[in-house]
């Protein structure tokens, strides 16, 4: 196994994790492919949102329902959580004691949950204003796109919790390592989608 073989884009598990390296190549490549298919789904929902942006049918409009404050706070929280996940990945790569890995995973989880709480609060506020998805095509497209991202974040939080349990139960073995790497990809991917959401949905909606 030469050093050149089996190098995948992203965090590399070199010595002393050479065996994990070989498995990782295929596993992470496959996960990238999955993320691409997920990206297509998000892209289509972005396109649907763009096409239905004006289907407000006399109801609430983007500038009427979006609030920049909460959206900005959610952005900061999510970006920070990507940073903390990065710290977790580095802890894992450099063989830090599992306490540190658990700690950073836990912080990421907490930030993820905070993001979700704020987002749900946003939606409830919109509902209270009569901006429900049943009100218009525009609101339907908003509530397909943004909550889909939220569902992904929720799945990521569940995954984080499961990984934390597995770190405790199994230690940082090969399977745990690969799954933390995949979760990392997933988490950063969601961050990128959120940046798209923030720009295309919230910023664009409020610049009127």
């Amino acid at each position: 196994m030469s050093a050149v073989e089996g190098i995948h884009p992203g965090l590399n598990l070199a010595h002393p994790h050479a065996e994990a390296q070989a498995e990782t190549e295929t596993a992470l490549f496959g996960f990238w492919v999955f993320l691409m298919s997920d990206a297509v789904i998000f892209a289509l929902l972005f396109a649907t949102y763009g096409v239905m942006l004006h289907a407000t049918v006399g109801g609430p409009t983007p500038s009427g329902v979006y609030e920049i404050g909460p959206a900005l706070l959610e952005t900061v929280i999510l970006l920070t959580s990507s940073f903390t996940f990065g710290l977790a990945s580095i802890a894992m790569k450099h063989g830090a004691p599992r306490r540190r890995l658990l700690g950073w995973l836990g912080v990421t989880l907490a930030l993820g949950l905070a993001f979700l709480v704020l987002e749900v609060r946003d939606f409830l506020t919109m509902f209270a204003q009569g901006a429900t998805p049943m009100r218009s095509g525009y609101l339907s497209s908003f509530f397909a796109l943004v909550p889909l991202h939220g569902l992904h974040v929720a799945a990521g939080c569940l995954w984080l919790a499961v990984m934390m349990v597995q770190v405790v139960v199994f230690g940082i073995d090969e399977r745990v390592r690969i799954n933390v790497l995949r979760l990392g990809l997933f988490w950063h991917f969601l961050d990128i989608v959120w940046i798209g959401l923030f720009s295309v949905v919230y910023l664009q909606g409020l610049i009127r």
């Binding site: 298919s37 297509v40 239905m52 049943m134």
Partner: protein
Amino acid sequence: MNAPLWPAVFGRFGWMDLPFVRAWQDPSVSEIIGAGAGGLVVFGGLAVVVLVTWLGRWGYLWREWFTTLDHKKIGVMYVVIAFVMLSRALVEAVLMRMQQAAAINAPGFVAPDHFAQLFTTHGSIMIFFMAMPFLTGAINYVMPLQIGARDVAFPLLNAVSLWLTAGAAGLMMVSLVIGRFSTGGWTGYPPYTELAFSPDVGPDYWIWAVTLGSIGTTLSGLNFAVTIYKKRCPGMDLMRMPMFCWTSLCTAILMIFAMPPLTVATALLALDRYLGFHFFTNDLGGNMMNYANLIWLFGHPEVYILILPAFGVYSEVISTFSSKELYGYTSLVIATMAIAVLSFTVWVHHFFTMGQSANINAVFGIATMAIGLPTGVKIYDWIWTMFRGRVRFSVSMLYSLAFMMTFVLGGLTGIVLAFPPLDYLVHNTLFLVAHFHNMLIPGLLYGMLAGYNYWFPKAFGFRLDETWGRISFGCWVAGFYLAFMPLYVLGAGGMTRRSQAVFEPAFRPWLYIAGIGALVLLCALVTLFVQLWVSIRNRESTRVPVGDPWNAGGLEWSIPAPPPEYNFAVIPTVRDRDPFYVEKEAGNAYPRPKRYEPIAMPANSMTGPALGVLGAVTAFGLVWHMWWLAGLGLAASIATIIARSFVRDLYRIVPAAEVGRIDRRWRKEIDRAKPIGRAVEGTPANRGLAEVEAA
């Protein structure tokens, strides 16, 4: 039961949702057919359960088939699903043809509602539960063998894909017994399929069956692509891969990118139907045109997903049965990739008539013509493969020849349809129906049947019966022409598709011929099963244990028939294209390994069947608004996935001694067998060892 309790437990189910009750209330021919179909499903299911119990084979089935992660067995199970669903959908087609022949200024015997469900299930089953499983099964079985791998990249994911597909197919069968199916066609256009116009369970069955299947397919595509990229044996460069692997790769890429639009389209429709969203409704800002775009962003690449594996089969079959290397390998590769890329640029041609500007229509029309170009290149490359070869007319080769002649006609009518002004005339008429069946039957189905006849001996160790193979072939070809050529004429005369009755006497002779054609196709199906039965009965005289019955060039022929679980005792190293030919010509066809190593194979897992069942249960709950069941199913699915992630024992080691024992037993067969020439390929003298002149 208590009035509020019934809907809480049983959702919107009522007794009239059973076809038996409906037929009791209204014993018309149409209802009795429906009840009969439902009865067949119940009876058939029970019969299978009783038979397996009586034979005491539940343990065997569970161990060897349901929980296996072996790509070969998974491939076989996919093809079994395909054959079962082909039978159902073909019978549905016969019913429709009979109805149209009978209902010329007369009511016929199939009521309009029943007829509409028939054309919807026929299309949905043929595409999602016959064609997709058939080609997925073929790729599953053959591709890892051809690239010298032991399994696909993600064996568990492979099993999950299979069982999701099986669960979805099961849901389709359940819809015959409980409730009804959609009447909106296999593409389910809103607003017809919205609550306002179809509040019944039909569209929901369609949505969830298609969604389950599409998730399975996306995961399969992912699996195949990663396998081809990462699991090729040493020396197997991309440009040394068999053409079937190239088409598998492009098919896989299409699956990865084309299934998500379908998932989005059905998901948005589900949001409309379940939560009152307004994506495609007539009111409050919905726009049905978005659905058309989404569904055909999926739908057009989908038809290339259907045809590319068949093209791969033809490359293999034509080369082998011409005893000649493929002509124009590089051109074929370029053409395949061009088809894959271009398939994403033509989707609007499915709705030229939706009112967009002439410029848009013209651009997509030209793109549609462009995509015919690489396909034509492939056909010529196959013709030139036969040139200066030695052509043998095996069953597989017959299908390939019939494909080349007949598919071209479909391509021509495709060019006609690519012209928007002509499409305006024949869109949604039987001309269109004739065109796409002209592509799918001679293209996809003949390809799958050619592959079936070609690789069956490898999978099961004995050849299929040639005589019944030819009879079946003859029926498929004659039946196709009789059933579909008249449809071109009828379409040119303005007869629309999906018509439960017609009112023009001029249509009569053509509908009669088409009806006869449908019956001939039914014979084709029956003779296909007869071929299988006769083959099993006569298997001792057609055994090919050495594994190379056709003197072919791919790695899959260099191992025993049937292959051991781990495929190769020693992973081969490849020196060129058609690697097995290269070794045979060098006199090194079956090199004896110096040493046998233990082999780690994926351990069995019940995750696949569990997710398949739970997925179907969740879907059933959603269809009937049994929210507790849907919630439980979803929760259990998530729990299953989490539980699986805690499993650490993922491998089963096959000891070196076992590998050696299996290999030595095979080598005894090689020593015992006499190498044969092609002239006696179809006789019992063929034990799977080919006589090859040294190069």
